[in-house]
Amino acid sequence: MSTERPKVQRSGPRPAEARLRRLLVMLPWLMERAEVPVAEVAERFALTEAEVVKDLELASMCGLPPFVDELIDVYIDEGVIYIGVPRLFVRPLRLNAVEAFELLAAGRAAMQLPGADADGPLGRGLLKLARVLGEDDTGVLRVDLARPGYTDAVAEAVESGSEVRIEYWSASRDETTTRVIIPRQLFSDHGEWYVRADDDRSGELRTFRVDRIESMEPTNRIVPPSDVPLPPPGEWFADGSIRRVTIRLAPAARWVAERYPMDEVSVPDEQGFVTVRLAVASERWLERTLLRLGRDAEVLDAPELAAAVGAYATRVLARYR
């Protein structure tokens, strides 16, 4: 697993608001510790050491008459910060609406991940948080990440580094294959669960949909975590080499733009139609989706695709005759 941290990178001077905001979370933390190396503060609060020193020196100069210079008792010597008697800014600023939402939504979502324990530390922490944030019970903000059958087994394989043999139905080729994979990352996105795994067939890191795994069994081989950093979940349709098509969607078909990754989605016109551009990751998938949409979708720049959908409809129709 990668534990890559965000780099401190910025251009130009930091705005006063950002500096003050950071100072107001830094001071209460420092006051609890009394003595901390500058480097540790910089690391924790994503600042450079020079920025930490600059802002703390500035804070030490703040003060109100008649107590000028005594508002914040801070002293830096040989790379160590010493905090004297705590006065003001002992407690952090309250959480704003956005931060409150972020915390609760993240916590509730994580409770839906495989292996979460309602009586564990996350469940207990969330309960304390919800009370402070005005939620009298937990039923008013819910996250539901319905897990298909093999999700928990995949999660166990990810955590233990177990190689597994799966039968997998590929929507793009409409066939079931047996492959040996080492699950590396499991994530939920747009209501579906995916597993990123080292795939023996292609020799690459591939993404599979968990609900399309038809069977799974361990090979009893344990493979230590690889050093290759995992891409952030969600960035998996970015391949620029894949062919793109442009489709105009009627209001009834707009769910497609919300459900699948799109390169571009236009602003709706007066009738509520949108024009989208998307990667053709799989022609089979696209034909099937266009069949579902029927006349609510119009392919603008690939006449052969429109013809293929018509032929597909004729093929399905043959079943009914």
Binding site: T3, A16, R94, E99, P121, K128, V132, G134
Partner: protein, 311 residues
């Protein structure tokens, strides 16, 4: 003139410490030499600072003097109770768990990082091995606050202005939903939050009662095919070829299987009160599925296919 951060910090300290509300002139007097002398420039600088503090989330209270020589003058202060984060009394393992939760579901969120710092946790890590992507919407924080504080909201939806008692929020099938009581329609309604038109406004001073035992997760059906489901409409019977039978059983559950045929194909029972959702689901199985009955569903699917074929 002082560094702006210094002036902002001093202003914040002054408004927190003051025993009585302070006018602009009193503030400038106490922070001697930090604000410009001219009235207009002083007012402009102070307004900018006040906006900056509010932007950070500092609740600045204000009152207007009602009588005497200074009637009409605005005075400011900060209520420490409202300013400070209530002590959450989080144990270290609970803080750590919340941090892991944030890293797994909101990696890269600047507000999430701010929240972590405020509760005393550290820098978020990236690249959790077990993760979920939670969709964003600019109105979610306002809606959550309204749900928690029981404040009514107004917003546009499907071209109609709504007044809603927001009962709860639910993330399901990748979308956020608001469930509440719609005063225009006078009934309980569910709204897709990303389809809200324009802004969500809180109705100042309003309140409402949530039904006892309300739970957002049981408030509307799981399955889109069930939305608008009518107990009087019987299920459709659908034949799924052996090739996709396993997937259909996993999707629908074994209790939806009516018949298993010798060739491995199955006949499943699927609600079809919502014809559009049913057809879309069925065609997702492509040439591997066929609706057998009722005849009306069969006919509707055939005519849809004929239209697409002739397109």
């Amino acid at each position: 003139m002082a560094d702006r951060v210094e002036r902002l910090t001093n202003l914040l300290a002054l408004l927190l410490e003051t025993i009585e509300p302070l006018s602009l002139v009193a503030v400038a007097g106490r922070l001697h030499g930090q604000y410009p002398d001219g009235q207009t420039a002083m007012r402009a600088a102070f307004e900018r600072d006040k906006a900056a503090l509010r932007e950070i989330g500092v609740p600045i209270e204000q009152t207007i003097v009602s009588g005497g020589a200074e009637a009409g003058q605005t005075r400011y202060w900060i209520d420490r109770e409202r300013y400070e984060l209530t002590d959450l009394e989080l144990d270290p393992d609970e803080m750590r768990a919340l941090q892991v939760a944030m890293a797994a579901t909101r990696p890269g969120s600047a507000s999430g990082q701010e929240a972590m710092w405020k509760i005393g946790a550290g820098l978020l890590e990236h690249g959790a091995a077990i993760a979920a992507i939670i969709p964003d919407d600019p109105w979610l924080p306002t809606l959550r606050e309204s749900v928690a504080n029981r404040v009514q909201v107004r917003f546009g939806y499907r071209g109609v202005d709504r007044l809603v008692d927001p009962w709860g929020l639910l993330l399901r099938t990748g979308f956020w939903y608001l469930i509440g009581f719609d005063h225009e329609r006078e009934e309980r309604r569910t709204y897709r939050i990303d389809r809200i038109e324009g802004a969500v406004e809180q109705v100042v001073g309003s309140t409402f009662e949530r039904p006892e035992g309300f739970d957002a997760s049981t408030a509307f059906p799981d399955d889109p095919k069930l939305i608008g489901a009518d107990p009087n409409v019987p299920d459709a019977r659908v034949l799924i070829d052996a090739h996709r039978a396993g997937a259909a059983i996993r999707e629908l559950g074994a209790n939806r299987v009516a018949t298993t045929n010798p060739d491995g194909s199955v006949e499943v029972l699927v609600p079809y009160a919502n014809m559009q959702a049913f057809r879309s689901w069925l065609l997702g199985y492509g040439e591997w599925a066929e609706v057998l009955e009722p005849a009306s569903a069969r006919k509707a699917v055939m005519s849809w296919l004929e239209r697409v074929a002739a397109q």
